[in-house]
């Protein structure tokens, strides 16, 4: 039962209680996800978080250990890969080297015996502006061109659901920007559902309507990019999606619409609505670009959190903005992004400064930042497997 007709429009994807175990480690712990039809959904996470496994499960290239997969309301968990109305743009592109570009693009159409396969393939190639290279072999194209062929080969089939597995990973920055915009416009044009897997937070935020941040086989937070950025719920999201300054302390006072957290002697106010927890230990965060730097002590007001004095220990100029790293003693360090509206930096290395931010810009997290070493832990799939194996071996030896 091949899918013989084109999808009229995108279909919604539903993952219910998905779990995927590989010998030695669990790639996906427990995953529930609904992607509405016609949306551009990004699955964002570090390597080894299970995002590619999720994609392969949806494509039918892996079987879930547990759970159901529904596409357009139809259960496809036991459906073979070639019978699913899904196409993938692979990270490696996987263009068939023994076929020409046009044969590659027409491959899916021919399998489904769709009339005028060649005509439609040429049309798809025109969409990605590569029709003039139709007779070439994939190896004769540049990386960016191959990527566009891979995209054409997938969208020509008008799948209900298009899966993108870090397809822009191999491109240089400029081409990447261009492809991001093209992908977005193609998605709007053809109205398909896109599921995009990436570890590049900027890519996810610029392209997707909805971003889900995945960590260690589970979704940490899901929402519109702005929402996720402005109000991260966990320390992982706060640090993976952009950068954050985090302070942990006890809640000492609760007023009508704000809580006060005392962290190492300084009191920080966070709006109740922007905090996930309202008592006990709470981690408060603020984005570096929301923080202002002062060379003189600002007068304390109720609507600003002020910290200081501290010492500037690093200044790095990056054109549009300058990054300051301020050492606040027991409170740790604070990162400040200041726009270069004037000439030259406001503060110099070693000078005494204060930092402040609008109370409404702070956020309270659901968890504490994990104690990380100097280098973040290696969380790639293979290292997780190796660690699990080691743990298993020691466990067996102890018996």
């Amino acid at each position: 039962m091949a899918v013989r007709e084109f999808a009229e429009r995108g279909a919604d994807l539903e993952l219910v209680g998905i779990q995927k175990r590989f010998p030695g480690f669990t790639a996906i712990e427990e995953l529930d996800l609904v992607i509405p039809a016609g949306s551009f959904f990004a699955l964002l996470g570090p390597s080894g978080c299970g995002k590619t496994t999720t994609l392969r499960l949806v494509a039918g290239l892996e079987e879930p250990t547990r759970g159901r997969i529904l596409i357009g309301g139809k259960d496809v968990t036991d459906t073979k890969s070639h019978e699913r109305p899904v196409n993938t743009v692979f990270q490696s592109y996987a263009l068939f080297p023994h076929m020409t570009v046009i044969e590659n693009v027409a491959f899916g159409l021919k399998r489904r015996r769709i009339a005028d396969a060649m005509g439609r393939a040429h049309e798809a190639l025109r969409l990605v502006e590569l029709d003039h290279l139709a007779q070439r072999r994939p190896q004769q194209l540049s990386g960016g061109q191959q990527q566009r062929v891979a995209l054409a080969r997938a969208i020509v089939n008008r799948p209900a659901l298009l899966l993108l597995d870090e397809p822009l990973g191999a491109l240089d920055l400029k081409l990447r920007r261009q492809m991001q915009l093209e992908l977005k416009s193609i998605q709007e044009e053809v109205g398909l559902t896109f599921l995009h897997v990436t570890h590049d937070q900027e890519e996810a935020m610029t392209m997707a309507d909805t971003v889900a941040v995945m960590n260690k086989g589970a979704i940490e937070q899901m929402g519109a990019p702005e929402e996720l950025y402005e109000l991260p719920r966990t320390a992982f999201v706060a640090n993976f999606l952009g950068q954050s300054n985090l302070f942990t302390g006890k809640v000492v006072a609760t007023s009508g619409n704000a809580i006060t957290v005392e962290a190492a002697g300084a009191s920080l106010i966070v709006p109740t609505a922007r905090a996930q927890r309202h008592q006990g230990e709470v981690t408060v965060g603020v984005r570096p670009e929301k923080v202002a730097i002062h060379t003189e002590e600002p007068t304390a007001t109720a609507d600003r959190n002020v910290l200081g004095p501290g010492r500037v220990i690093d200044v790095s100029f990056s054109g549009v903005s300058t990054q300051y790293l301020v050492d606040l003693g027991v409170l740790g360090t604070v990162l400040v992004f200041a726009q270069n509206v004037g000439f030259g930096p406001i503060a110099h290395l070693g000078s005494e400064v204060w930092v402040s931010w609008d109370v409404t810009h702070g956020f309270g997290l659901d968890d504490e930042p994990a104690e990380t070493g100097r280098f973040p832990a290696d969380t790639s799939t293979s290292s997780i497997a190796a660690q699990q194996r080691e743990a298993l071996v020691t466990e067996l030896e102890e018996r």
């Binding site: 494509a59 290239l61 890969s81 070639h82 692979f90 996987a94 080297p97 491959f107 899916g108 080969r153």
Partner: protein, 303 residues
């Protein structure tokens, strides 16, 4: 000789063109070897094939001439053997391919996760080489002779007619050829299948191709270099083989191949020009067949 056909299709990267005495010096032993042991015998063979019987000589005495009639004679006399040789070789090549492909696929693709199993199976494929193939063929002759357990059992079960033979039939010769050349087929197939990128197969099934179509449209074309190498390594020696078809082994009077005829002309009939002419015909025919095959298989950009 057969690999000349290969070499022409392989796109060699252009080396910087610089006249170097050292390169020439290093090439000298190889060139000398080829001139001495390939070119000289080839010319000698060509000259022998054109010889005419000495006017007052004994049997087996010939003098140099330009007697191209030799070629016409051998073709007229031995055309059934020539056709039979290529027919048997073709059948054996096809059978060996059908047998070896699944085997090589299993070792090279399915067993990738277990390197130990992979090497063990490869050793098993090569293991028969440790025993001379003459002995192995003789062993088959015994196993398949009329008095053997296999044949008597088959006859007892009426699966074989009471007066049927196996040795001495074309089936026996093709069986022997297939058996003896299976490792030559399996190893090149294994080397290409071992490098087969499974992501192409996944991409194929993602693009609505079922398992059979993926195999036909992706796996087979991508393993073409191995198929071409394996079939050449089987077909060429099989066409010239004279052991399996020989009466002393698995063949009979009706299964003689070119190799047997050449042997008979050379050693028994002492008709050296005929033997030489047959050899030249065999060589030329193989060259033409292989050349056409390599060109048509279109593996230039995969090799």
């Amino acid at each position: 000789m057969a690999f000349a056909a290969f070499a022409t299709t392989e796109a060699q990267p252009q080396a910087p063109k610089r006249r170097s005495r050292i390169a020439l010096f290093l090439l000298l032993p190889g060139i000398l070897y080829l001139v001495l042991f390939f070119l000289t015998p080839l010319i000698s063979l060509l000259l022998t094939s054109l010889q005419a019987p000495s006017e007052f000589g004994d049997i087996g005495q010939y003098s140099y001439a330009f007697n191209w009639q030799n070629y016409v004679d051998v073709v007229q006399l031995y055309w059934p053997h020539i056709l039979r040789s290529f027919g048997y070789a073709l059948a054996a090549t096809v059978l060996a391919l059908l047998f070896s492909y699944p085997l090589a696929y299993f070792i090279g693709v399915k067993a990738r996760r277990w390197p130990l199993l992979q090497s063990l199976m490869l050793v098993l494929v090569i293991a028969p080489f440790f025993i001379s193939f003459l002995l192995r063929t003789l062993a088959w002759k015994q196993l398949l002779s009329d008095e053997s357990f296999i044949i008597t059992s088959l006859k007892a079960l009426s699966l074989l007619a009471p007066d049927a033979h196996f040795t001495g039939t074309p089936f026996a010769v093709i069986f022997g050829l297939t058996y003896n050349f299976i490792p030559f087929m399996t190893l090149p197939l294994y080397t290409t299948l071992e490098r087969l990128d499974l992501r192409y197969l996944e991409a194929g099934s993602d693009l609505y191709a079922n398992a059979f179509t993926v195999f036909r449209k992706i796996t087979i074309p991508l393993s073409m270099p191995g198929i071409v190498a394996g079939t050449l390594l089987t077909f060429i020696p099989a066409a010239g083989d004279y052991v399996n078809a020989s009466r002393d082994f698995l063949g009979g009077p009706d299964t003689q191949m070119m190799g047997n005829v050449i042997e008979a002309n050379f050693l028994v009939l002492l008709n050296y020009p005929a033997a030489a002419a047959l050899s030249i015909i065999l060589m030329a025919a193989i060259l033409v067949l292989v050349g056409v095959y390599v060109k048509r298989s279109g593996t230039e950009d995969l090799l």
